[in-house]
């Protein structure tokens, strides 16, 4: 366990893991898929978008997982990388937007669809991710002060709801895929809220006695 955790803590291991979705695209198998040959821009658009969403879910699962398994060295290793994972979500989302630009084919086509809630939700999420990404360094924490920095970074929950909407709207029948992606995160977050509620209740009854 500790060996794996020590391995996971290494920077190059983290970067390799974060690059896996792109490394996969370099394999000939990926590019021989009919969907890639039929419409590479659409294929990449969906693929990179999904990678961003999954990385986002992983990033947000780390803190509640630490509450559930406080002693796990593996989760501690992930917690150690949490900010880098968050920044990589932004990079994938930005890539997703650039591919979307190529997919629409022109500036006018690109801008025209912004009025649609489906597209707008993604763009707002990306802007919020940008705010979090540029304030993700230690200097920003110091400059803003811990409390204010934390408050700003609570924006991830707004991003979470935007992403759920964005992901769910692109599904054509039902919401099974979105449910599968977000269920683990939502369950963990609900558990965390429950834990928090119980603690504050305990505290209140302690105050009374």
């Amino acid at each position: 366990m500790n060996g794996i955790a020590r391995f996971l803590k290494k920077k190059w291991v983290l970067y390799t893991l974060l690059l896996t979705p792109i490394l996969y695209l370099l394999l000939p198998q990926a590019r021989s898929e009919t969907e890639f040959q039929a419409d590479p821009a659409k294929y990449l658009l969906e693929y990179i978008g999904l990678s961003a969403t999954i990385l986002f879910v992983i990033a947000l699962m780390i803190t509640p997982l630490r509450k559930v398994f406080p002693k796990s060295p593996i989760i501690k290793a992930f917690a150690f990388h949490r900010r880098q994972i968050g920044v990589s979500v932004f990079i994938y989302a930005l890539l997703h937007l650039l591919i979307y630009f190529a997919y629409t084919g022109s500036w006018s086509g690109f801008v025209k669809d912004w009025e649609k809630l489906f597209i707008l939700s993604g763009i707002i999420a990306l802007i919020l991710l940008l705010v979090l990404a540029v304030t993700s360094n230690n200097r920003s924490v110091r400059a803003l002060g811990g409390k204010r920095w934390k408050r700003i970074h609570r924006l991830v929950y707004a991003i979470m709801f935007l992403l759920i909407y964005h992901q769910a709207t692109q599904e054509k029948t039902g919401y099974q895929e979105t449910a599968k992606i977000f269920a683990p995160l939502l369950i963990l977050q609900a558990y965390r809220i429950g834990l928090y509620g119980k603690r504050s209740l305990d505290q209140r009854s302690n105050d009374k006695s």
Binding site: E35, A38, A41, A102, G105, G109, K116, T173, G174
Partner: protein, 319 residues
């Protein structure tokens, strides 16, 4: 220490089939012709085979437009009966789903209802011909496909609809054992589509039994499917097993599923957007990453043949 004790109902290991016998069983099944080859239908002739090679109808050859590569036409399919993954339909639709023999039932307000095999049907209408049509998907991509088939109006003339027949309702097959997508997916199977009787009689409306001069592959809707080139692709119901002549407008599957996004008419119209994307332009399948889009044409370029059908109809409301 933990001691494993077998429960009374547990069998001793000696009762299990040995690997040797298990493998022999497989060999036996293969020998009697029940192996995967037979069960998966790889060696079975599929689709309707009558009428090939079909002569090209030069009135519909779309001069100057290159057909989409055959591999993409048969490898990039929306056929939710199998999967929602366009790239996987080809494999899943060829794992034992039998499209030959295939019976079609024609009934409702007609003088001569009939129930016949698809090959017999082709013979009765006088064979098939080839036509090259543009095909525009509601998802804003397009292909150019040489279809083999016959004009639906020929079949309509055979069954002789009565005055009560205002719409034609098409129903696809229902076989969840062969079509895994029909086990759920939030859709009320089987797939249903409809046309007005005038649309069904239009010269462009085709029942296709082939593509590229060959019997139609399962994933493209074998053995017989509808092709209505001025409408979005989802109107082209695949693998038809029932055609009914009815008085009331049929509720088509996509409208039943999402009436805000998909209507009954589904005419290709660059001016009426889908709620989630623009329909003003389309991506050309097989043309690469940076290929610019091309502008979508009103009625997919078939205004001359069909615009008169919709005179006085508000196309923004009747999308």
């Amino acid at each position: 220490m933990r001691i494993l004790k077998k429960k009374s109902w547990e069998l001793p290991d000696s009762a299990a089939t040995s690997e040797r016998d298990y493998i022999n069983r497989r060999r036996f099944l293969k020998a009697v012709g029940l192996g995967s080859g037979a069960l998966l239908g790889h060696s079975i002739a599929n689709a309707a085979t009558v009428g090939f090679p079909s002569p090209l109808n030069s009135a519909y050859k779309l001069e100057g437009l290159e057909p989409t590569p055959y591999d993409l036409v048969k490898g990039y399919n929306n056929f939710y009966e199998f999967t929602t993954d366009k790239g996987d339909v080809q494999e899943l639709a060829n794992q034992g789903w039998k499209t030959e023999p295939w019976e079609i039932e024609i009934k409702g307000h007609v003088d001569k209802p009939m129930k016949l095999d698809v090959n017999e049907c082709i013979t009765k209408v006088g064979g098939i011909e080839q036509r090259v049509y543009r095909m525009r998907c509601v998802e804003a991509w397009s292909m150019v496909i040489p279809w083999d088939g016959f004009q639906l109006s020929k079949l309509i003339d055979l069954v002789q609809p009565t005055d009560k027949a205002k719409y034609v309702k098409f129903t696809s097959f229902h076989d969840p054992k062969s079509a895994p997508g029909q086990k759920g997916g939030g859709i009320d199977w089987p797939y249903v589509e409809g046309l007005t009787i005038e649309e069904a009689r239009n010269e462009l409306t085709l029942l296709a039994t082939g593509i590229f001069g060959k019997p139609i592959p399962n994933q493209n809707g074998a053995p017989i499917r509808l092709v209505v080139p001025w409408k979005y692709g989802f109107k082209g119901i695949k693998s038809i097993s029932k055609i009914e002549f009815v008085t009331k407008q049929p509720l088509n599957t996509w409208q039943a599923l999402q009436s805000r996004e998909y209507g009954f008419y589904a005419n290709v119209n660059p001016e009426v957007d889908h709620p989630r994307w623009s329909q003003a332009s389309e991506r050309i399948i097989g043309s690469g990453f940076f290929s610019s889009r091309k502008d979508t044409l009103m009625f997919n370029g078939y205004s001359e043949q069909v615009a008169s059908l919709y005179k006085g109809l508000d196309l923004r409301r009747n999308f």
